[in-house]
Amino acid sequence: MNNDRTLGEFEQIVLLAVLRLGDQAYGVTILDEIAAKTGRNSAPGALYTTLHRMEDKGLVTFRDGSPTPERGGRAKRFVIVTREGRNALASAQSAYQSLLQGLDLLADPLVRLMFGGAYV
């Protein structure tokens, strides 16, 4: 495995949120999606640091949108996952799947109760 493309946990969460949002992924919607699906209220600074790091690694790129009044006339900056980003995410998720096999962790009723379906 290429160490340069190894993803941290939050990087994987951000990439998954961006993929789920499609062409509407920018700072605000990514934070909302992460909060809705994981119950985690991430700090904006943490998201931007992660996005900038992944941009430097070539895992994401950006597309500028149009300025809107609710943003003080500033443009949105939409996030796009690159092919390298998809490959890195697939590799990381594959590793998780391999490790989870045979554990039946997600089928455990207690886990379902604790996480309220957030992860299951």
Binding site: Y26, V28, A43, T68, E70, R71, G72, R77
Partner: protein, 250 residues
């Protein structure tokens, strides 16, 4: 109706742009503005400060390490030159051969700029960056051989000079070399200018008092920090303009 914080956050955006770049800063401020519509002004400024710290701590840490490295190397050089015959043995102590003197003066001046710039760039941009790789090569070619005999220093001064020419000739290494050279020249000129200013304001021996003087110690280091901060700002700006790939796609 949306409540925007644009009017009082423009200087804040400019400050953030120094760290993140203008495009990123505008997008971040827009996101915070949008999020703050439901959370209020206090949340906006707390989120802004936390974002600033998240994005800027690495730049600040890189500057502190670079400045400390510069001070340590200057102190080491000062101690080394007090060793009997060390200055005669060192290349720039030679005055009997013009070529040796000129080439090794170049080596020592270039090396002194790298004592700040190389650690700063390494921590700020990471080891995968081409400019950082150039910095590391030049650091290894100059500093260890500065303290050796005339002939060894002369050889490595010529190798360093040849490598600079080769980098400027190469299409791959030209831009990193330009950023590196601009940063080094700015550091040296700013250091010389602040030294000259301090000397004019105080007195010619202010930098080297016979006894420890807290005012002298603080003023000399503060002015050096200001001088090197100029080089760091230029380095970051040029790096963004010349070395970063365009992130906006059609």
């Amino acid at each position: 109706m949306f409540e925007s914080y644009t009017s009082d956050s423009t200087p804040a955006e400019s400050f953030l742009a120094q760290i993140a770049g203008p495009t990123r800063a505008a997008a971040i401020m827009g996101d915070l503005d949008e999020l703050a519509a439901n959370r209020g002004r206090f949340w906006f400024w707390i989120a802004y400060i936390r974002t600033l710290v998240s994005l800027g701590w690495r730049t600040l840490a890189a500057f502190v390490v670079g400045f400390t490295s510069f001070l340590l190397m200057m102190s080491f050089l000062g101690v080394w030159m007090r060793i009997p015959k060390a200055i005669d043995n060192m290349a720039f102590g030679s005055t009997h051969n013009a070529l040796t003197f000129l080439s090794t003066a170049f080596l020592s001046i270039f090396a002194s700029s790298l004592w700040f710039a190389a650690p700063y760039a390494f921590l700020r941009f990471g080891h995968r960056d081409r400019m950082v790789q150039l910095y590391c090569v030049f650091f290894l070619l100059t500093t260890p051989f500065l303290f050796h005999s005339n002939s060894i220093s002369l050889i490595f001064a010529l190798v360093t000079f040849a490598l600079i020419i080769a980098a400027l000739w190469s299409s791959v290494w030209r831009r990193p070399m330009i950023v590196l050279a601009a940063t080094s020249i700015t550091a040296l000129v700013a250091l010389e200018a602040t030294t000259d200013l301090v000397t004019r304001v105080y007195h010619p021996y202010f930098h080297y008092p016979h006894e420890f003087n807290l005012t002298s110690w603080a003023v000399v280091r503060l002015t050096a920090a200001v001088a090197l901060a100029n080089a760091a700002i230029l380095c970051t700006w040029l790096h963004r303009r010349l070395l970063r790939q365009s992130t906006a796609i059609a």
